[in-house]
Amino acid sequence: MKTWVFSTEADGGASSSALEALTKARSFGGDLVAIHVGAGSEPALNELGAHGAATVLHLSADVSAAAIAAAMAAACETEQPDLIIFGMGNLDRDVAGRLSARLGKPVLANAVDVTVDGDSVRVANEILGGTTKVVTQFTEGAPAITITRPKAFPAEPNGGDAPTVSTLHVPDVGHAGDVVVLSSHAESAEGPDLEAAAVVVSGGRGLGGAEKFEMIAELAGLVGGAVGATRAVVDAGWVPYSYQVGQTGKTVKPSVYLACGISGAMQHLVGMKDSTTIIAINKDPEAPIFGVADLGIVGDVHNVVPALIEALKAHGS
């Protein structure tokens, strides 16, 4: 069994999806290789090694997705991986799609589990808002290409050594590689890391406006939590994409998730339904969010949230 895991460098480390996938792939046995795109700093490489990657094939950050896919496809010919695991990041998806088209192999996306039984690779998906589990087997031959959901597996180091690093040759892909990043801009979130926070307070369209996120941030501050949001309000420009929880955003599993003015669309639920305790405030008693909430308050966020803030302040003093 030879497994490749796609990794990108973020904040001086390897992507969390790569560390999660490496942890899972250790259970398959055999060779474990990380394809790492980015600066290739020592902490990032060592982290990949510590999670089980014996080898890292490195590419620099300024390479187009088309060229990364071409480089990986060429390496596939010599290395013959059985399975290639990507995360849900934008570059992950760009490269997975292109590699699949180049190799003529399908991609199975949104995987919540990957199992290997002899030659057969299977992935599990949760569809229809996590109510139905579908297991699919690859039938096209190696490599099986899959995109796994964040937090599908825990990331646990096994104390592996620093990996052997070699630079992957990047072929010229002509016009397909004709994209340039002119500049990068940060719209950083304040407060604790959303994906690691023990408490998440999220706001949706029911808040009525961007300025109402101030009250969500104040509430989050009082309970030591991070602020989250639905895609509807990210798309409306109220808060940056880094706040988004759900299918195309972050997956969170805090002890407490407090949903304010959120309807509870399937695509939002898949990102937060595994929280230990869910509390929801929504003025519509029929809102689907109440179907997963441990405590639901049918009420107006503009009354309940300010009252809760006052009560917490009084409680704290």
Partner: protein
């Protein structure tokens, strides 16, 4: 300037649909609607076409197992010039790669300068079709765009990233995928709806595009996942916040 917008007709998300227990295909209600997330691509195409002037055209491209054209007419009513519909019963249950082969072949045949897509469909959400189409066409991909501009014959976008956004530029021909925050899509006018009825819709089969449907995967099992149990739901009588406070105390957050 020929702009092709990929649009998908999907079962109305408002009406529940199921999986066929025999072959695991999605059992679709008769009426199919335009995937809401595709309205953004259509709007971007119409705005870019306006900038390019008389020479520009907007053609919709859709693959469907056959039957409904309701979703296509919805997008035509927004103002697109015409549509290409790849209708083929053999494409039932097609996976993302087969879909991409069909879309790439049809877009090439139409001599597209720019192919616009959403980032993922509402019903399938594999989320790799734009990239596969770009690879099969041998063109650059500008993906996850939350803003699109046309600068000196190139397309410049703000690409959504985990940290914020990147400004990325690519030359044509290219594939562009847009988020649902990119523009405010227009609503069809009555005139647009009437005009859509007589706009040209060309139909093609997979064979005409020389695409052989393949799947490369087979479903092994389908089972339901135990649902999370709903808890207590109470009407706010002015004391709702105290219930929340009590819950936060119970789970030791405060």
């Amino acid at each position: 300037m020929k702009i092709v917008v990929c649009v998908k007709q999907i079962p109305d998300p408002a009406s529940p649909y199921k999986l066929d227990p025999e072959n695991h295909f999605v059992v679709r209600p008769e009426d199919q609607v335009l995937d809401d997330t595709d309205r953004y691509g259509v709007e971007v195409a119409l705005q870019l076409a306006d900038e390019f002037g008389d020479e520009a055209s907007v053609t919709l491209l859709s693959m469907s197992p056959g039957g409904s054209q309701q979703g296509i007419r919805q997008a035509l009513a927004m103002g697109a010039d015409g549509a290409i519909l790849v209708e083929d019963a053999g494409l039932r249950g097609a996976d993302a790669l087969t879909t991409s082969r069909v879309l790439a072949a049809a877009a090439k045949r139409a001599a597209a300068d720019l192919v616009i897509t959403g980032t993922e469909s509402t019903d399938g959400y594999t989320g790799v079709v734009p990239q596969q189409v770009a690879e099969l066409m041998g063109v650059p991909s500008l993906t996850f765009a939350r803003k699109v501009e046309h600068v000196d014959g190139k397309v410049r976008i703000e690409r959504q990233t985990q940290a914020g956004y990147d400004v990325v530029e690519g030359s044509l021909p290219a594939v562009l995928s847009v988020t649902s925050g990119v523009v405010e899509p227009r609503y069809p006018t009555f005139k647009g709806i009437m005009a859509a009825k007589s706009k040209p819709v060309e139909t093609l089969t997979a064979a005409e595009l020389e695409v052989t449907p393949s799947s490369g995967q087979s479903i092994v099992s389908v089972e339901s996942v135990p649902a999370r149990e709903a808890g207590e739901v109470i009407e706010d009588d002015g004391e709702g916040h105290l219930k929340i406070l009590a819950k936060l105390e119970e789970v030791k957050v405060v």
